[in-house]
């Protein structure tokens, strides 16, 4: 379980996270929704240990990661897989080497097993035969799928997805969402997905949390979020402009 309590972060005088509190149950898909600039990516960076909060704590399976540094933090990260917004594939390596990289460097897998697992991971995301290509030679959707294969190949317990469908056409958005759902059913990892793909993302979510102005303002199953009476949630779901923020 991931437990976040009172997470607070400011950049200068701008408060981005304000005593954010949330629990993510093991083996579930939790979607964090919210407007751009609302602190979703900053929150995710705290979850994966790339940022340190000003106050509050994050506990992953009973280990408080906000206090950890160096090797102790790396031990927790070994249970993670992360799919970054742009894929973050190493552009000096082929897609095959990108997927093999964490196995070679993180787990030190024997050659035969490595080949088997990389081929399997590429197959799971429907990319058999493209391993020899470089990230610059494939489409945005394929890059996202290679990134998912790379996150998946070490069989992590938790996978974080940072806006995995940004910049993709509606068909690819649907494909990636169903890929995440399908992989989750097979491997039962805990998934935390930051997204603003409304309402498509509700199809794969078990829990949806709305992040607004640095706080979780609503959390629950997709149906409950869609039926929420919170005006902030309703405006976001309907894609309506918030007149109070107009200048």
């Amino acid at each position: 379980m991931i437990k976040v309590e009172g997470l607070t972060k400011s950049f200068g005088r701008q408060a981005v996270l304000r005593e954010l509190t949330i629990e993510v149950a093991t083996g579930t898909i939790t979607i964090i929704i919210g407007r751009s600039g609302g602190g979703k990516s900053v929150f995710l960076k705290h979850l994966i240990g790339l940022m340190r909060p000003d106050a509050g704590r994050i506990t992953v399976d009973g280990v408080e990661i906000t206090r950890l540094r160096g090797r102790a933090l790396d031990e927790v990260r070994r249970t993670y897989g992360v799919v970054f917004q742009g894929g973050a594939l190493f552009d000096s390596m082929s897609c095959w080497d990108n997927v093999a990289f964490p196995l070679r460097e993180k787990v030190r897998t024997p050659r035969d097993e490595l080949v088997k697992r990389v081929e399997a991971a590429l197959g799971q995301v429907g990319l058999e035969g493209v391993g020899a290509k470089y990230p610059a030679e494939i489409s945005g959707g394929m890059r996202k799928r290679v990134a998912i294969a790379r996150a998946l190949v070490t069989e992590p317990e938790i996978i974080f997805f940072d806006e995995p469908t940004t910049g993709l056409d509606p068909v690819l958005v649907n494909t990636i969402h169903h890929l995440i759902l399908d992989l989750h059913r097979r491997f039962r990892f805990t998934a935390v997905v930051v997204s603003h793909e409304i309402p498509e993302i509700f199809e794969i979510a078990e829990t949806v949390a709305m992040l607004h102005e640095g706080r979780i303002v609503e959390i629950g199953p997709p149906a409950a979020i869609q039926a929420s009476t919170n005006p902030v949630v309703q405006r976001f779901i309907r894609g309506e402009a918030d007149n109070s923020e107009e200048r």
Binding site: I48, G49, L50, D74, E75, R77, R78, Y80, V82, F84, Q85, G86, A88, L89, F90, D91, F101, P102, E105, K106
Partner: protein
């Protein structure tokens, strides 16, 4: 709690104080970055493949520019020093004058400036792009140290390639001087090389060697630091690359003066 507005008379002190804190902080980050890189350099697991790649990136791919600039620097020195010496009837000292200028001073400095322009800028841009496309973050969350994979191999490669590039620059430059002094201006070959052996000793070579070693560390340290701490987007990468080249070049010249004073 909101800050109280400062009295107008205190604002210059506030600005100077803020600037001083920012400078000290950035120097601290710069130093800490180097200490982390050194720690990654001396503790296993080592990354020989990344190191060989950096040797190729910083050294091998700079060879052409080193050959070209070395040759023309030697030729210019040969011509100008000959024209000066001939006024005093001392043209026999052309060989040692060219060699000493190159080995003690121009070789290490110009080779370092050339490698900075070619490889240092590329190093900053490469790391900067890796930073803004989250490739460095990807390494970190895989529990793999970017210092170990990206920075330490570059600094070690700088330490080794800069003296080698300098040695090549010196040798090519001496032959450039030979080409002008001996083949074009008619000085005897024996005089050019013979006097060189008389006047140039191992101490002169060591001065150039230690300079080039320190330049290798300075350039790779500055360029990797700037790439690692790049701002946002393409503009951030462009700005970091410019800063890396300018700062490296200035530090090369400043450090050269101090090294020259110490290693006389």
């Amino acid at each position: 709690m909101p800050d109280r507005p400062l009295a107008p008379a205190l604002r210059p002190f506030d600005a100077v104080g803020g600037w001083t804190i920012a400078v000290v902080e950035s120097l601290g980050r710069f130093g800490t970055f180097f200490a982390e890189a050194l720690a990654a350099l001396v503790t296993p697991p080592f990354k020989p493949r990344a190191f060989i790649d950096r040797i190729n990136f910083i050294g091998y791919r700079s060879l052409l520019i080193i050959f070209l600039t070395g040759a023309f620097t030697g030729m210019v020195l040969g011509l100008q020093i000959y024209l000066t010496l001939v006024r005093f009837g001392s043209e026999a000292f052309l060989g040692p004058a060219v060699a000493l200028s190159l080995i003690r001073e121009l070789g290490p400095v110009l080779a370092a400036l050339m490698v900075t322009g070619r490889a240092g800028s590329a190093l900053t841009a490469e790391l900067g792009i890796m930073r803004i496309t989250e490739q460095i973050d990807a390494l970190t969350v895989m529990a793999l140290s970017p210092m170990r994979y990206l920075v330490a191999p570059s600094i070690l490669a700088g330490l080794i390639t800069f003296p080698l590039m300098t040695a090549i620059f010196d040798v090519v430059g001496i032959f450039g001087g030979y080409l002008v002094g001996v083949k074009l201006l008619g000085l005897s070959e024996g005089t050019y090389f013979g006097e060189m052996q008389t006047f140039v000793d191992i101490g002169d070579i060591m001065v150039g060697f230690w300079k080039s070693v320190s330049f290798g560390v300075i350039v790779t340290w500055v360029c990797t630091y700037k790439g690692f701490n790049v701002g946002h987007g393409a503009e951030g990468v462009a700005s970091a690359t410019t800063q890396a080249v300018v700062l490296s070049s200035v530090l090369i010249l400043v450090w050269d003066y101090f090294m020259g004073s110490i290693l006389q």
